[in-house]
């Protein structure tokens, strides 16, 4: 196993220790249970944004804790959702009195654990909302699956909602923004190689030297389809067109109804992209693909969006939501209006994303 680690059992603890040592000015790591908050403590009067998920996706989410982005993050074991107690402790530590928004990626485990955590917090009188992110167009039918996975859009949404919280949006307003952004965003990913979780020590899937996986998630799992490796232009065109031509997507998502005091299922229908849309384009490395190759992807992607009459107004390129050392990439496009662009441009100062201050 080619990894810079000590014993597999200690990987998460030690990497969090390293993170704490490196970024003591920005974050505070709690070890029992694991959660990461801003170094300065809860932000009074601002909605606390919390996210979490399995480890192995660094810098997401711990690397996004800091001014203008998250207030807390809960790292699970590698590729395993964190647990409600972690999330609950994080909520208590991060809550500045204006309530908590849990940004949850749509995986059965993450959704269930965050639901239980929300129930715990609500029982203690903390205002909570859970918004589920499900942007992965590779998963086609929500009726016969656990629904679309939450992938790249999560990063963009955490940034923009983080700025909204800094601006003083209340829980309802940040939740609404978060929901809209999720409906505006679509992603697709692919892998050239598998990855190895420290606990297992061997690749999550075997893949030939001339093969790739299309439609992967972020957990080292195989994708929707295996194909012969193609040129970056062909791969990028296929993914970008897949995103841009994806039709209306309807599914029910669970949210907390503050008036009724219970979970309700709300049907959301995402509208397809259309000519004239402004988008933020995010080309992401799965961890092992260097930024140089991402520029090759960006080049073709921009050509395709251009042909569709879609305008890229901002972009993000790099390893931000990863699967350990997996080689591959994902593309996320998110429709934005001027207000969202302004929130995107707002200062952010976290270990993983920095600008404007």
């Amino acid at each position: 196993m080619k990894k810079l680690i000590n014993h597999p059992d200690n990987v998460i603890k030690e990497q969090l220790e390293g993170m704490q040592a490196a970024h003591a000015d920005l974050i505070k790591v709690n070890f029992e249970p694991y959660y990461i908050t801003r170094a300065g403590g809860p932000v009074k009067g601002k909605v606390a944004l919390i996210s979490g998920g399995g480890s192995g996706h660094e810098p997401m989410h711990g690397g996004f804790v800091g001014h203008g982005m998250l207030h807390a993050a809960c790292p699970g074991e590698v590729f395993t959702s964190p647990t409600p107690d972690q999330m609950h402790e994080a909520a208590k530590a991060a809550n500045g009195g204006a309530g908590v928004l849990n940004i949850v990626k749509n995986y059965t485990g993450d959704v269930m654990n965050f639901e239980m955590a929300a129930e715990l917090a609500i029982a203690e009188g903390i205002q909570v909302q859970n918004i589920v992110i499900d942007d992965d167009v590779a998963v086609k039918d929500s009726l016969y699956t656990a629904g679309r996975r939450g992938v790249g859009a999560t990063v963009l949404i955490e940034k923009i909602c983080g700025a909204a919280s800094e601006e003083g949006y209340d829980l309802k307003a940040v939740s609404e923004l978060c929901r809209t952004l999720n409906q505006n965003a679509r992603s697709m990913g692919m892998a050239l190689t598998s990855c190895i979780t420290p606990a297992n020590g061997s690749p999550s899937f075997e893949i030939g030297d001339d093969e790739m996986e299309i439609g992967i998630g972020i957990h080292g799992e195989p994708g929707i389809q295996r194909e012969k490796i193609k040129s970056v232009d062909e791969i990028t065109e296929m993914m970008t067109v897949g995103i841009l031509e994806d039709g209306a997507y309807s599914r029910k998502l669970k949210e907390w109804d503050h008036d009724k005091g219970e979970w309700v299922e709300v049907e959301y229908v995402d509208q397809p992209f259309k000519k004239g849309d402004n988008v933020i384009a995010f080309v992401n490395s799965m961890g092992g693909t260097p930024v140089s190759e991402l520029y090759g992807v960006y080049r073709k992607m921009a050509q395709v969006t251009d042909k569709f009459g879609i305008k890229i107004v901002r972009n993000l390129i790099g390893p931000y939501i990863t699967s350990l050392e997996m080689q591959g990439c994902s593309i996320t496009l998110m429709k934005v209006d001027d207000k969202m662009v302004k929130l995107w441009d707002a200062p952010v100062y976290t270990p993983g994303l920095k600008w404007g201050m």
């Binding site: 249970p33 399995g54 699970g76 074991e77 590698v78 590729f79 395993t80 959702s81 964190p82 647990t83 409600p84 107690d85 972690q86 995986y107 059965t108 485990g109 269930m112 654990n113 639901e115 239980m116 590779a138 998963v139 016969y144 699956t145 656990a146 996975r149 979780t197 606990a199 297992n200 999550s204 899937f205 998630g217 957990h219 080292g220 799992e221 195989p222 929707i224």
Partner: protein, 208 residues
């Protein structure tokens, strides 16, 4: 009947079989999931086992609830909340009990199953742990109603569980991570169904 000692034995055996089968369960999850189910279950029941001594004098409902909380706070993933809810609901139904009648065991399984379904919304044939838990619960309920001795009913439940596991193989997953694979999930045995089978087998062994 299941004494409290046997309940403790059950949880101890769960720890043992999940440790033994850790790699296998993870392998099953590698094929159609994210390669962590064995590690998740083992982490959870290792902790349950470590705490048994401290809770073994509580009533059985409380033992199950403590087990539930431990699973919920250590397993993570999908299986953490699901098995956690299983024991939580079982514990709720059996609050105050110092031993379980044969019928209590049937009640426990039904309450656990209902909890899993409430949490996870899986139906029979979705290729999940409920493809074991449903037939097992039904079989035990029928046998206990018909007056079959518990150990015998559970011996049959193990066979039913094994069949339930096998039946997941040709299914296309509709819940959990494996559902993303669509047709590619066919031909693989569901890891969660497999761990449920191990837990039922442990229950049988504890009941003998």
């Amino acid at each position: 009947m299941l004494t409290k000692e046997q309940v403790i034995t059950w949880l101890t055996l769960c720890h043992e079989v999940l440790e033994e089968n850790k790699t296998w369960l993870t392998q099953l999850d590698t094929a159609i999931g994210d390669a962590d189910h064995g590690n998740n279950m083992n982490r959870g029941f290792k902790k349950v086992y470590a705490q048994l001594d401290a809770i073994k004098d509580k009533d059985i409902g409380a033992i199950f609830k403590a087990t539930a909380m431990t699973l919920i706070s250590t397993v993570g993933g999908a299986s953490g909340p699901l098995y956690g809810t299983f024991f939580l609901q079982a514990g709720n139904k059996l609050a105050g009990k110092e031993e379980l009648t044969d019928n209590d065991v049937a009640i426990m399984l039904r309450a656990g199953l209902d909890g899993v379904v409430m949490r996870g919304k899986a139906q029979a044939g979705d290729k999940t742990m409920v493809d074991v838990l449903i037939p097992v619960t039904e079989s035990v309920e029928q046998d206990i109603n018909a007056g079959t001795p518990l150990a015998e009913a559970l011996a049959k439940a193990v066979e039913v569980a094994e069949q339930g596991v096998k039946d997941t193989i040709p299914l296309v997953a509709k819940k959990g991570r494996a559902s993303y694979l669509g047709e590619r999930s066919r031909g693989h045995q569901d890891p969660g169904a497999t761990s449920s089978r191990l837990i039922i087998e442990a229950l049988f062994n504890a009941s003998r």
